[in-house]
């Protein structure tokens, strides 16, 4: 069992949890993720790592409750435990193994969308701790959904916030903001690292392609085991099939077949609704029987 030692509500339906998992905390690196199973009947849910502390032995995850499994997790409080917590999964970000002096010369832009802000934080933090300055654009639908702003501001050189409805910061999409910075504010970037909803990453990649900025995206497809066994996370990158769980999750955004990836993400939608529906029926039934 893996104890929840801290829980914080970040926004409506978005929360962070610090999980006691010393082995994962000791080996986690930027770019990696975990799989969490809430209870005996739970799914293996891949989740991003927002932070980790090897000394305390904790790993922080950020969850948006959407499907039945993440809704189940939302009910857990500080002091409760998840049944399983495994990781770190995936390959660490490319820059982790790059020469630090070379890295310092690079102009790096992070683009974070929605809960994708969570996995951006440990990357920016890692670079900040090594003296690499980076800019960050974070986008959200509306002001209420802007998360981790203070944390990110403390490690980013420049933090730019955008909201779709203009309720906070720049009024527009993150792609508009990228164009604004590069075309109107004279910013230059060598690398863009974009993490967020698949649709956002698709359009960021299209934008940066035009601007000729190398782009890394972090994919979040459907997966079961997360160790290369099931192949559910197949993604086409440069006409080759890759497994996001072991070959990724980070890939060259200009080579990813996003249209296929978007379709594949919806593969189990009807089944999930069925299962979710059954749960509700069962709950109503049990409630009535009590």
């Amino acid at each position: 069992m893996f104890k929840i030692v801290e829980k914080e509500i970040l926004a409506p339906n978005i929360f962070s949890m610090d999980i006691l998992a010393p082995r994962v905390a000791a080996s986690a690196k930027p770019g990696q993720f975990v799989i969490v199973i809430a209870d005996e009947t739970g799914e293996r849910v891949p989740l991003t790592i927002c932070d980790y502390d090897a000394e305390k032995g904790t790993v922080q995850i950020v969850v948006q409750s959407m499907g039945s499994s993440t809704k189940k997790m939302a009910v857990y409080e500080k002091g409760d435990s998840f049944k399983d917590f495994v990781g770190p999964l995936g390959v660490p970000s490319e820059f982790v193994n790059e020469d630090l002096e070379e890295l310092k010369k690079k102009k790096i832009l992070f683009v974070a969308g929605g809960v994708g802000t969570a996995p951006v934080y440990p990357q920016v933090k890692w670079l900040h701790e090594r003296g690499v300055k980076v800019d960050v654009i974070m986008g959200a639908k509306t002001k209420d959904l802007v998360i981790l702003e203070d944390k990110l501001r403390s490690v980013a050189d420049n933090l730019y916030v955008a909201t779709d409805d203009g309720s906070y910061g720049f009024h527009g999409l993150v792609t508009n903001y990228i164009e604004e910075l590069v075309n109107n504010q004279g910013k230059e970037y060598d690398v863009c690292i974009a993490i967020g909803p698949m649709i956002m990453m698709k359009f960021v990649a299209l934008t940066t392609k035009k601007l000729n900025i190398k782009t890394i995206v972090s994919l979040n497809p459907i997966m079961v085991d997360g160790t290369g066994m099931c192949g559910a996370c197949r993604v086409t990158v440069g006409n080759e099939t890759k497994f996001a769980c072991v070959d990724g999750p980070e890939f060259d955004g200009h080579l990813v077949d996003f249209d296929e990836a978007l379709k594949r993400q919806g593969q189990y939608k009807t089944e999930e609704v069925k299962k979710d529906h059954k749960h509700h029926e069962n709950c109503v039934f049990n409630g009535g029987a009590k």
């Binding site: 009947t41 039945s68 079961v224 085991d225 197949r234 296929e260 059954k278």
Partner: protein, 462 residues
């Protein structure tokens, strides 16, 4: 009684069982087991034994059953095998022990597998304790993977007094026994869990959710955590695909994904959260045991199911019993047929497969006649789900993170007949070394490596 005729075993009716996940074979009753055991000729030089990968003293355990002494039969099995209830169910006996049975020359071989299963089940149901651990010798050994190779290696070492910890990547112990082989061939709650509990009783510690190569490395296990030797029994878990167009369409799954969702994640049970997609008409591509498992699972989930295989029935790699069961349950075999493309609709879902008909030509390297395409035989076949069951290969997570660990061009770990790898103190066996094979071969390798680890540590200790 006709000595040359097998005592038939009762099974669930095919039309009933293809709607449930209960075990197909119901096993012998005590009377049936005794009658079947009495058919054994008790050969002075038993050929059956020589063809068993773990050399079980087959006549001796069968003799005990014939005497009605079931507990002692189980004790005999335990001397040689950590998993008799499993092997009695999934071993390819017809190619091993039973193939060499003298009775087979004139009639039916003794049902060695079914008797093995009977003795093991009887011992479990009657709470007979089998196997004891020697006093602790204080030496720590790590075992990676809790499948058949790992379980066997860990069990053997624990009996010798070693302090053994198994690191398992998934959330449940058992490896392929829990994620791969379906409930209707190998019940998890009774049979598999019991075997795992037996291991724990021997003092073996099992740490689940530890992915060696990610959570920890072999170097950390040996240097930081003080394990003197490591056995890698991580299996062959990576699915193969055909590399044909349309393979990434929605509705194309690896058999591994399909079976893992159903077996490990229990998607077939309503109260479990993991979804599974089966569709109305399913093509399972491949002809091995895993293909049969996937097909029979899809059937049980309500689909019309086809096995698409490029050679003939004679070349099917699956066990005869599995093919027989699959046919009884209504699986349709499209033989001498090979997919060349998976066809999709505009939403990215499978709508069919394009196949070609094949004929058999000259024998290839495997000795089987090579399938050749019949020109102009292309046809379309309407299905909404395709399950690829083309075999698996070892996961490179461990080999790619362990310096000096030699692998071959098939990504299999290179090890000698005792399991010794290119790294001192690191041993390996089972599918991680051989590529996908059988439970019993993996057990044989686990046992051999346990003996080698014992010698290695004692030698080092001198």
């Amino acid at each position: 009684m006709d000595r040359f005729k097998r005592i038939p075993i009762s099974e669930q009716d095919p039309e009933v069982r293809n709607h449930n996940f209960e075990e197909v074979c119901l096993g012998y009753t005590e009377e049936e087991a005794i009658a079947e055991a009495k058919r054994c000729l008790q050969c002075k030089k038993p050929l059956c034994r020589g063809n068993c990968p773990v050399s079980i003293d087959i006549p001796r355990f069968i003799g005990k059953i014939a005497e009605g002494n079931f507990a002692e039969a189980a004790q005999v099995l335990a001397e040689y095998s950590a998993l008799p209830a499993v092997c009695g169910r999934v071993c390819p006996q017809e190619e091993q022990c039973e193939m060499k049975c003298v009775l087979g020359n004139k009639g039916d071989a003794v049902s060695i597998g079914k008797l093995e299963r009977f003795a093991a089940d009887w011992a479990r149901e009657n709470n007979i304790e089998v196997g004891k651990a020697k006093e602790s010798n204080g030496h720590k050994v790590a075992v990676i993977g809790s499948g058949p190779a790992g379980i066997t290696c860990a069990g053997e070492l624990a009996k010798e007094g070693y302090d053994v910890t198994i690191f398992e990547a998934l959330h449940e112990a058992g490896g392929v026994l829990v994620y791969g082989i379906p409930e209707f061939r190998l019940p998890k709650e009774t049979v598999v869990k019991h075997e795992i509990e037996n291991l724990k009783k021997l003092g073996v510690k099992i740490e689940t959710n530890v992915i060696v190569g990610r959570t920890i490395t072999i170097d950390e296990i040996m240097e930081k955590e003080g394990f003197e030797a490591v056995f890698i029994g991580s299996g062959a878990g990576l699915p193969k695909f055909m590399g044909i167009p349309g393979e990434n369409l929605n509705g194309v799954f690896s058999a591994n994904e399909f079976l893992t969702r159903n077996n490990l994640m229990k998607a077939f049970k309503e109260d479990y959260d993991t979804p599974i997609k089966v569709g109305k008409k399913v093509a399972v591509v491949g002809g091995g045991n895993v293909a049969m498992d996937a097909a029979r699972t899809a059937k049980r989930l309500g689909a019309e199911v086809y096995i698409v295989y490029r050679r003939t029935e004679a070349e099917l790699p699956a066990r005869v019993e599995e093919v027989h069961h699959a046919k009884e349950e209504g699986i349709i075999f499209e033989l001498l047929t090979n997919p060349v493309e998976i066809l999709g609709n505009e939403d990215g879902w499978v709508r069919g497969i394009k196949c070609v008909r094949m004929q058999l030509g000259e024998p290839d390297a495997s000795g089987r006649r090579r399938p050749e395409v019949i020109e102009g035989s292309e046809f379309e076949f309407e299905v909404d789900t395709v399950i690829m069951s083309l075999g698996t290969s070892p996961n490179p997570l461990i080999s790619s993170t362990t310096k000096g660990l030699e692998i071959n061009n098939k990504k299999c770990i290179v090890a000698d007949e005792h399991g010794q790898t290119s790294r001192e103190g690191v041993f390996a066996g089972g599918d991680a070394v051989t590529g996908a094979a059988t439970v019993i071969l993996a057990m044989g390798a686990g046992k051999e490596a346990a003996a080698a680890i014992d010698r290695y540590i004692k030698e080092k200790d001198k």
